[in-house]
């Protein structure tokens, strides 16, 4: 009986960690995706400060995300967001879009990792 209670507690722990992880990742990925899509639609880049906005958003999220996501991916997005800020300040539209596209690719990868499919299973 004791062992079954232990198994029950473990099952709750597994569910709690998995559910929290999925919620944290999905919420961060969704907001990040929206912010990047807004950047991709920009005409006037310097005044919008969307790149900077994304940079601070990511700085805020990275600590919590690190509990559930590969740190290299988090750092890579951080590096690209810094690149976006500098491109924004220098009004280099192509560089800004290039960094935004790369971030979007990584973010979509994170979402894909969260989904249960034959691809992620195998």
């Amino acid at each position: 009986m004791k062992r079954l209670i232990a198994a029950g507690i473990i099952a709750v722990l597994i569910f709690a960690v998995s559910f929290t992880g999925a919620t944290v990742i999905n919420s961060a990925v969704e907001t990040a995706e929206q912010k990047i899509e807004q950047i991709q639609k920009l005409d006037e880049i310097k005044s919008s400060k969307k790149g900077e906005d994304f940079y601070y958003f990511w700085e805020q999220k990275r600590e919590l995300l690190a509990v559930f996501v590969n740190h290299e991916k988090i750092d890579e997005i951080g590096r690209l967001s810094a690149k976006m800020v500098s491109a924004e300040r220098l009004e280099k539209k192509s560089e800004l879009f290039e960094a935004a596209n790369e971030i979007l690719f990584i973010i979509r990868g994170l979402r894909e990792d969260e989904q249960f499919s034959l691809y992620t299973l195998l």
Partner: protein, 229 residues
């Protein structure tokens, strides 16, 4: 000390606690006594625990969930195996008689893939050097060999010799390195005061003693500490 080193130390500390707890939950068996399912889970846990320790970019939660899942599966499997004999056979296998009625079953030995050298070695480890002494030998699920010797070759028991032996009980360690082992006292239905009384008769104190064993009939073995200051 760098932050990376601190991260490694903290992760190792966390993993040590979680893996120890996990193994503790799985039971008390030694490696050699493990059922196949337990062995698989133990090997997997050691592999999974190593990943976040070696690669600090991996989130520790992935390793923890995987370890918890393995322990959960092991507990559920052990409960199911306990209740269902057919599943027990599938998960754990069954004991195989490699010697029946004093005759080696060569087909059974081929099936379990042990050679005659392995068999003789396992018998020697049990103190049996003559194949002729054995009536039945089972290769157990955990890989050990259980042997029943032929009645005319087996050591005589006091019962066979019609001897009256009084059971003195198991000698329990009641003091280890100057510390009283309360669980042993409880087993012997004694209190610390009873123990002090026994020691008083021997003119010794608890702190002076390295090892003291006591059985139910009151027989004790006392070894004093060396360099007692």
């Amino acid at each position: 000390m760098g932050d990376k080193m601190l991260k490694v130390i903290a992760r190792t500390f966390l993993m040590y606690i979680f893996v120890t707890l996990s193994v503790r939950l799985m039971g008390k068996r030694q490696i050699g006594d493990m059922q196949p399912t337990e062995l698989v889970v133990t090997l997997l846990i050691s592999e999974i625990a190593a990943i976040p320790l070696q690669d600090v970019s991996q989130p520790i939660s992935i390793g923890l969930v995987a370890i918890f899942m393995l322990v959960f599966l092991e507990i559920i499997a052990s409960v199911i195996i306990l209740k269902n004999l057919r599943l027990r056979r599938i998960f754990s296998g069954k004991a195989v008689a490699v010697i029946k009625n004093g005759v080696i079953d060569q087909k059974a030995m081929r099936n379990v893939r042990i050679t005659i050298f392995d068999l003789v070695e396992m018998l020697r480890m049990q103190g049996i050097f003559e194949l002729d002494d054995i009536e039945t030998a089972f290769l157990e699920v955990n890989g050990s060999l259980s042997v029943r010797q032929k009645p005319n070759r087996a050591p005589l028991t006091p019962e066979q010799m019609k001897l009256n032996i009084t059971d003195k009980g198991i000698p329990m360690t009641v003091i280890s390195d100057g510390t009283v082992v309360d669980s042993s006292l409880k087993f012997l239905s004694l209190t610390r005061d009873d123990l002090r009384l026994i020691l008083k008769k021997e003119n010794k104190t608890i702190k002076e003693i390295f090892l003291m064993t006591l059985n139910k009939s009151g027989e004790s073995i006392i070894i004093k500490k060396e360099n007692n200051k």
